[in-house]
C-alpha cells in the first residue's frame, strides 16, 4: 500500500516533469539551446492561473471547475505570447551567435522573469488553490489517490500522444523535424525557419503553462523561484530520455519522478536530488545520448 502511494506520487511528479521536459526537448531539438528561462515560464503560468482563478471565481460567481478552465486557458495564452516574445526579442537576434551567448541571454531572461515576478507579486509565497481537489479512496481508505494526480498523469499522456501525432503527421510538425535536423536545408526546401521556431516556442510555452498549473496544484507553494528547480529537473529528464526525442522526454520525466519519490521515501529526503542526478550520470555514461536518443558520431 505504502509502496503504491509512493509510486502514485512519483507518477504525479514525473508527469509534471514529463510535460515540462516535452516542451524543453522540442525547443532544444529545434533551437539547439539550453533554454534556462523555460522553468520561469512555468512560474509565470502558475502566477497567471493563480490570480485568474482568484479573480474569476470570487467575482463572477461561475462554478469553480469553469473558473479553473478559464484560468488555465488564460495562463496558456499569456505564456504562449510570452514564449514567442522571448524567442523573437532575445533569441532570434542571436541565431548566428555562439551557443554560449544564447545561453547567457537565456539566463538573463530567467533573471528578468524571476525579478519581474518578485516586483509584481512580492517575495511572500502564495498558497495555490488546486484546480481539482479531493481524493479517490481505495481499499477502504488504505490507498488514497488525489484526483489531481490522476488528472496530471492523464494530461501528460494526452500531450505526449498529441505531440507525437503532431510532429509525425502535420505539415508544421514535419517542418519542425526538418529544422531540427538541418536548418539550412529546411530553408532551401521552402520551410519558414523563423516561423517554425516561433511555433515551437509557442507550443513549449503553452505546455509550460499547463505544467505550472499542475505543478502548483500538487505542490501548492508559489513564489518567483518556483520554476527553477523543476525546470532543471525537467531538463535533466529530457537529457535522461534522450534530448530531442518526444517519447524520451516522457519516459525520462516519469522515471525521474518515480526515482525521486522512492528516494525520498526509502533512502533520504536530503539526498533525493543527489540520487536523481547520480542516476542521470550513470545513464549517460552507459548511453551517452540518453535512453532513447540516437548517438550520432562526428563525421571525419
Amino acid at each position: 500500500m505504502e509502496f503504491l502511494s509512493y509510486l502514485i506520487s512519483g507518477l504525479n511528479l514525473g508527469s509534471v516533469y514529463a510535460i515540462i521536459a516535452l516542451g524543453y526537448t522540442m525547443v532544444y531539438g529545434i533551437a539547439k539551446m539550453l533554454n534556462f528561462a523555460h522553468g520561469d515560464v512555468i512560474m509565470v503560468g502558475g502566477f497567471i492561473s493563480y490570480y485568474a482563478l482568484d479573480a474569476v471565481f470570487k467575482k463572477s460567481g461561475l462554478p469553480f471547475w469553469f473558473s479553473a478552465i478559464i484560468a488555465v486557458v488564460l495562463a496558456m495564452i499569456v505564456c504562449t505570447v510570452l514564449g514567442v516574445l522571448i524567442e523573437g526579442l532575445a533569441y532570434r537576434p542571436l541565431r548566428a551567435a555562439p551557443s554560449l551567448a544564447v545561453l547567457i541571454t537565456a539566463i538573463g531572461v530567467s533573471y528578468f522573469l524571476q525579478n519581474s515576478a518578485l516586483l509584481i507579486c512580492g517575495a511572500q509565497f502564495k498558497t495555490y488553490q488546486s484546480i481539482i481537489s479531493g481524493t479517490l479512496n481505495l481499499f477502504g481508505g488504505g490507498l488514497s489517490i488525489p484526483y489531481v494526480s490522476m488528472l496530471t498523469v492523464v494530461v501528460c499522456i494526452v500531450i505526449m500522444v498529441g505531440l507525437t501525432l503532431f510532429t509525425s503527421k502535420t505539415k508544421m510538425g514535419k517542418a519542425m523535424r526538418a529544422c531540427s535536423e538541418d536548418k539550412g536545408a529546411a530553408q532551401l526546401m521552402g520551410i519558414n525557419v523563423n516561423k517554425t521556431i516561433s511555433t515551437t516556442f509557442a507550443i513549449g510555452s503553452a505546455l509550460a503553462a499547463i505544467a505550472g498549473v499542475l505543478l502548483c496544484s500538487s505542490f501548492p507553494i508559489l513564489k518567483p523561484t518556483t520554476g527553477s528547480m523543476p525546470g532543471i529537473k525537467a531538463f535533466t529528464a529530457a537529457v535522461f530520455g534522450g534530448i530531442g526525442s518526444i517519447p524520451g522526454a516522457f519516459l525520462g520525466g516519469l522515471l525521474l519522478g518515480i526515482i525521486e519519490s522512492f528516494a525520498k521515501a526509502y533512502i533520504s529526503t536530503q539526498l533525493a536530488n543527489t540520487i536523481v542526478f547520480a542516476v542521470l550520470i550513470i545513464v549517460l555514461l552507459v548511453r551517452p545520448a540518453g535512453l532513447l536518443g540516437k548517438y550520432v558520431p562526428e563525421k571525419v
Binding site: A101, L119, I232, T236, T269, Q270, L280, L284
Partner: protein, 360 residues
Amino acid sequence: MSKKLKKLSGAPKRDYFSYLLVTAAFILITALNGGGLLSKQMQGLLVPVCCYIIMALSLNLTVGIMGELSLGHAGFMSLGAFSGVVVSQSLITAVPNDALRLVISIAVGAVVAAFAGFLIGLPVLRLRGDYLAIVTLAFGEIIMDVINCLIVGHDANGLHVIFNFRGDKTVADLDLAEGGVAIIKGAQGAVGTKTISTFTAGFIIILITLFIVLNFIRSRTGRAVIAIRDNRIAAESVGVDVMKYKMIAFVISTTLAGMAGALYGLNFSMISADKFNFNTSILVLVFVVLGGLGNMLGSIIAATVLYILPEALRGLQDYRMLIYAIVLILVMLATNNPKVRNLFLRIIPKRKSAEGGTAK
C-alpha cells in the same frame, strides 16, 4: 637574445599588462583603504571580489581554453571552502599564526578540489557538449546536497564526522569531548569560523592564479588543450591524448576553484553549502562570457565590475537584479548581433570609441 626569448615564450604584452593592472589596483585600493576612503560595505567586498576573480579565471580555463561548458563550478569552490574551514578551525591551537594557517587551509582546499576534479572528470570528460554541461550541473548539485548532510566537529581526539543523510542527527551526536567545537552543522553550514582571509592574501592568490593560467596556456600542454578545443579529431590524429589533456586542464581549473573557495569560506564566520548553488556557478559563467572566452584580463575586469555593480545598485533595492538582467541581455545582443550593435552605436555615439577599444 632576451627579446627573442620573450617572443619564444609566446607571451603577448597583454599578459604583462594583466599582472601590472592587478598589482596597480591592489596598491590603489590598499592606499584608499589606509586613508579611510572605503566604506564598510566596500571593505566587505574586497575578499569576495578576489575570490570571484579567481573563480572566473579558473572557469575560463575550462570554458574558454578547454571549450567545455561547466555549470557546476561552484561545487568545487564549495569543496575548497568547507575543507579549508575544517582545516583552519581544527588547527587553531596547533597553528596559532593566522597567515600560516590560511596558507595551509588554502593548500588543503586546493588539494581536495583537485582530487574531486579528477574523480568527477573521469566520467564527465568522456561526454560532449550539452551532455557534459548537464552532468557538471548534476555534480554541482550533488556536492551541495552532500555537504548539507555533513556534521563535523573537532576536539582533543581529532575530527568527528557524521554523514547525516537521514536528517535525524545533530551536533550532539558528534560526542565531542570537553572543549570541542562543531565546525559544520549540516544544512546550517559552517558556523563560528574565525575569519582569517585578507585582501592581501586574495591579491597574492590572484597573481598565482594568473601566473598558472597564463603560463599554462602558452606551454606545450596548453597548446594541446586548445588544439583539442579547436578540432578534437585533428588533435588526436597528431597524437594528442584527448582525455589526458582535458583532465590536466580540468584538474588545474578545479584546483584554482578550491583555492578561491577556501579563501571565501574563511572570510565569513557563517557560510552554508547553499551559497554555492547553481546560481553561483552561473554567476561566474556570466563573468567569463562577458569578459571574453579565453581572455583572462577580461575575466578579471568582468568579475570585478559585475560583482560590485549589483552591490553598488543597492540603493535601487528590488530593481537592481531586474536592471542586471536587462543589462545582461542587452550586452549579449549588442556584442553578438551586428544590427543591435549598430543601433546602440547610433543611439550612443559617444561610446563608439570606448566600445571599439574593448570589443577585442
